[in-house]
Symmetry: C2
Subunit: 256 residues, 2 copies
């Protein structure tokens, strides 16, 4: 059986689907992070190799059955910057027919079939891609954890730690985030987070994983956690607005 491998690689996870020529998914698997801006090249390569092997092997497929690999990877830009290095990496894994795009490009294709419109991608990191009436592309955001990623899981995790620190210091309101974060991290005292974050060294995707904890606290009605999510939504909306403005869309239809 001939298949196409479709890969979606992010800052935390890499997913791979094997799709037959009638468009049916015949196998799938998941591995670690493959954003080459955030993790080392050997980690990216291992994540891709694992996702592919664990997709092919259980379905008794081998490399010769793969007619094409199409990967949308975080860390590859909307205009293809960074793609050649990733293409090289997939060639080293034994695949000759490779199409690499940024993760926001495949998300746009998935949601809008590359027709005109703006999509906001918010996973571990965040970025907004707009495609105009004549195919022109604009990107907003995507500046990573240090000076971007507004509305992303990383930023929500970071703001949750910040809110807990503010409570601890008596600088901010009480919040259930503190206990929830401690429990998720397996710590007893909020001061222990310093050693965990800096000495043991939490990666952006580990901070991002705290976003899920914050989500449950917000669902439970905690005002501080709710405010973090509302702000995240506002920041994504601001970015979408900027993309709409740049593309000159008017009377835009909104799909959510």
């Amino acid at each position: 059986m001939k298949v196409i491998l479709a890969i979606d690689g992010g800052g935390s996870r890499t997913r791979c689907l094997a799709i037959d020529l009638r468009g049916q998914v015949v196998s799938q698997a998941e591995s670690g992070p493959s954003n080459h801006l955030l993790v080392a090249a050997d980690v990216v390569k291992r994540s891709l190799a694992e996702a592919i092997d664990q997709t092919l092997t259980p379905a008794r497929l081998n490399r010769d059955d793969v007619i094409c690999v199409s990967a949308g990877l975080a860390g590859v830009d909307f205009d293809g910057a960074g793609a050649p290095a990733m293409e090289e990496l997939l060639r080293e894994l034994g695949f000759d027919h490779v199409v690499i795009n940024g993760d926001m490009v495949i998300a746009h294709a998935g949601a809008l079939g590359m027709r005109e419109g703006v999509i906001a991608l918010a996973g571990t990191g965040s970025a907004i891609l707009g495609i105009g009436a004549n195919g022109e592309r604009v990107k907003v955001g995507g500046w990573g954890p240090v000076y971007g990623d507004e509305g992303s899981a990383y930023r929500i995790g970071q703001m949750s730690l910040r809110a807990a620190a503010r409570e601890y210091d008596g600088r901010g309101p009480a919040t259930s985030l503190t206990e929830a974060l401690l429990s998720a991290l397996g710590l007893h005292e909020f001061r222990e987070t310093v050693a965990r974050v800096y000495v043991e060294g939490m990666e952006p995707r580990e901070i991002a994983a705290l976003g899920r904890v914050a989500y449950e606290v917000a669902e439970g009605g905690d005002e501080v956690a709710r405010t973090i999510f509302l702000r995240a939504g506002e920041e994504l909306a601001e970015s979408v607005e900027a993309a709409i403005r740049q593309l000159g869309f008017t009377d835009a239809e909104t799909l959510v």
Copy 2:
């Protein structure tokens, strides 16, 4: 000549003074970062060794002339947590009489002679230490670049990059920060900052160094840069307020 070595170690620099028994500074030198939470142990050791050697050698002093080393180090906490490891490190460098404190403790001693009062330390990172009427200590902040350091050079550098990204995206107002940051980083296009920050890997102290660039832009009257500094001041003031509240100070005198 017998001397005391006084060391002030931060996230970017380590300063060492040799002081004779009449209290006169006879020699001084400076080296790299010594915050063990932010840089590896061998970097801390090298910074301390360099600062000490370059203080002793030009003054024709040797290790036997040193009767005591007193070091205030960022990364050591206000209650001495982290001090034993740093003490061990100075013993390995050949010094037996060693006193280690957090950097905020020596700053407090320098500014207020350990009398009651609150000091805000804002260098590469930031932290607030208050000492009460009965010697009780409270710390506010000091949570590092990921979820703290409000009012620090790191945070100002980070907010400056964020403001430039917002301008680039059309999400925020125009600012002279963009050109100033590009010029400081030797780049031509703001998009190149992504490779610089993540692929080449800028350390917190390198982001913090951009605070100086932002300061000049703010001095030049740029509203976006000015707002970043005003917010930094407000955040430090909030932290100082929290410390004052916890210590129960009333009618506090303010020294700036």
